[in-house]
């Protein structure tokens, strides 16, 4: 039973960072293992010392000296303060460049021409626009393996967070604002993407596959998408904006600057008059 549990457990871990499938995630996994290794020096002494000392100096053991007034030693103070400070300094030295490097805004991973994707969080689905290609998808993110993927995020509703556990960390998406995330996928395959920021009733279902393909397969996919003959028009957008869930969808065309329009419509700074109208409405 236990063995089975552990076996199955490893299966669970396959869905996460330990089974990293992209350069960003790999770097994060490497950092995780390194930091954990260092932190063992924090954990092990305590776990050994606490039971050992408590048991050795138990009341019934009269073999050892009892020094009720002993309460200070400079040597011990040194051991108590200095190594932990050292560890923190070491971790800080690791942390600084790692944070710069994995900054989701600037990190450039992968090779070749970047693929630009604009992600819009809705209740309870993700819309992905490919401005360069003029197509859009819902609840599936198709990407070419190996190439850098540059995502701009916003939300058409409450705040959400886009996490790709095996590929990259997460970043929030907020209405009226634009955040960014960069990642790449090592090889073709299907990986999970999800919203991790609670957003209401069907939040648990707000997951989607990231489909990584070879270059030719991606090109073929794009061609197929353009050929579906279903543009992301007013009606389609109205349907998406409704609070519900949906399966994967593909749109063959997207109005230009659609993403900027969404940002402006949800209170973004670039469109000051959008706000004015609702103020009038409120005042009247």
């Amino acid at each position: 039973m236990l063995a089975l549990a552990i076996l199955n457990g490893c299966a669970a871990l396959d869905h996460g960072i330990l089974n990293a499938q992209g350069p960003v995630a790999s770097h994060e996994r490497h950092l995780l293992l390194l930091v954990s290794g260092i932190l063992l020096f924090v954990w092990v002494p305590v776990v050994i010392l606490v039971p050992l000392i408590a048991w050795h100096y138990r009341r019934s053991n009269t073999n050892d000296a009892y020094r009720p007034k002993w309460a200070f030693s400079w040597t011990l103070e040194g051991f108590i303060w200095i190594p932990p400070i050292g560890i923190v300094v070491l971790l800080a030295i690791l942390l600084w460049p790692a944070t710069q490097r994995d900054d989701p805004y600037t990190r450039r991973a992968g090779q070749g021409e970047p693929v630009r994707v604009q992600a819009i969080a809705l209740n309870w689905k993700w819309v992905f626009i490919y401005p360069g290609e003029g197509v859009a998808t819902v609840n599936q993110l198709a990407v070419p393996a190996g190439r850098p993927i540059h995502v701009s995020l916003t939300s058409g509703t409450v705040m959400q967070s886009l996490l790709l556990p095996q590929l990259a960390g997460q970043v929030y998406a907020m209405a009226g604002m634009r955040t960014r995330m960069n990642f790449a996928v090592d090889r073709p395959g299907i990986f999970r993407g999800e919203n991790t920021q609670f957003s209401g009733e069907k939040f648990a279902q707000q997951k989607f596959p990231v489909i990584s393909m070879t270059g030719p397969a991606y090109a073929a996919w794009l061609a197929r998408a353009r050929g579906t003959g279903r543009p992301l028009d007013q009606r389609a957008w109205a349907a998406l904006s409704r609070q519900n869930t949906t399966g994967p969808q593909t749109f063959s065309a997207v109005p230009p600057k659609f993403f900027d329009h969404v940002i402006a419509a949800t209170g973004g700074a670039s469109h000051p008059h959008a706000g004015h109208r609702s103020a009038m409405r409120k005042a009247s």
Partner: protein, 208 residues
């Protein structure tokens, strides 16, 4: 203990006794802590105001809404009332006559009410001009910060009425003294907050 009299003006409870009253000391200190906690609230509202300055959403702007002349008048009123509340405390400490104390406190009260009237007039003008809190984040931040100070001033005025009644009923017993001291701290504190409002809200709106 060279200058116990300066500790908090008037903290010595007895007429001649020089030992600060232990009870009064913790009573005043506790009130100080409360004021500092309140100061954090104001500080955060200032910070929010700072982040919301540009968020006018196409609506009224600071420069248009804030009038320097009435801000100056309000400042002078409040500053003077800070002086008069101080003189109230000194009167309580040295004269111990109800008339002197009530006179100074009455003057402070009038100045406070005048301040409130002026501020109320300002806010009404803003409303008439379409600058109401639901208009934009900037105005929301303004209407959280400045009227909160006004509410404090109002509370101070009510407090003065209560203290006047107590002075009438009990003279200057230990609790009246300690509460007048607290009231004066509160009032001075509001003056300090107003200086910040003046600089951050009103003067900043009219930078060259």
């Amino acid at each position: 203990m060279s200058e116990p009299s300066l500790q908090h003006a008037g903290i010595n409870m007895g007429g001649t006794e020089n030992r600060p009253d232990a009870n009064a000391e913790s009573g005043i200190f506790g009130f100080w802590i409360f004021l500092m906690s309140d100061a954090v609230i104001f500080a955060l509202l200032f910070a929010i105001y700072g982040t919301a300055l540009a968020a006018t959403a196409g609506g009224p702007t600071p420069a248009r809404e804030f009038k320097l002349d009435s801000a100056l008048a309000e400042t002078l009123l409040l500053l003077t009332s800070s002086l008069t509340i101080g003189l109230t405390v000194l009167a309580m400490k040295y004269d111990e006559t109800r008339r002197a104390v009530l006179a100074w406190m009455g003057l402070t009260f009038v100045l406070g009410i005048a301040f409130l009237a002026l501020e109320g007039h300002d806010l009404a003008t803003m409303f008439a001009d379409g600058a109401y809190p639901t208009r934009s984040a900037f105005l929301s931040a303004f209407f959280a910060l400045v009227p909160l100070h006004g509410i404090h001033v109002l509370a101070g005025c009510v407090w003065m009425l209560v203290m006047a009644a107590q002075i009438g009923a009990y003279g200057f017993d230990a609790r009246v003294r300690i509460n007048v001291l607290r009231l004066s701290l509160f009032w001075h504190f509001l003056d300090v907050i107003w200086i910040a409002i003046l600089s951050v809200v009103y003067l900043q709106a009219h930078l060259p």
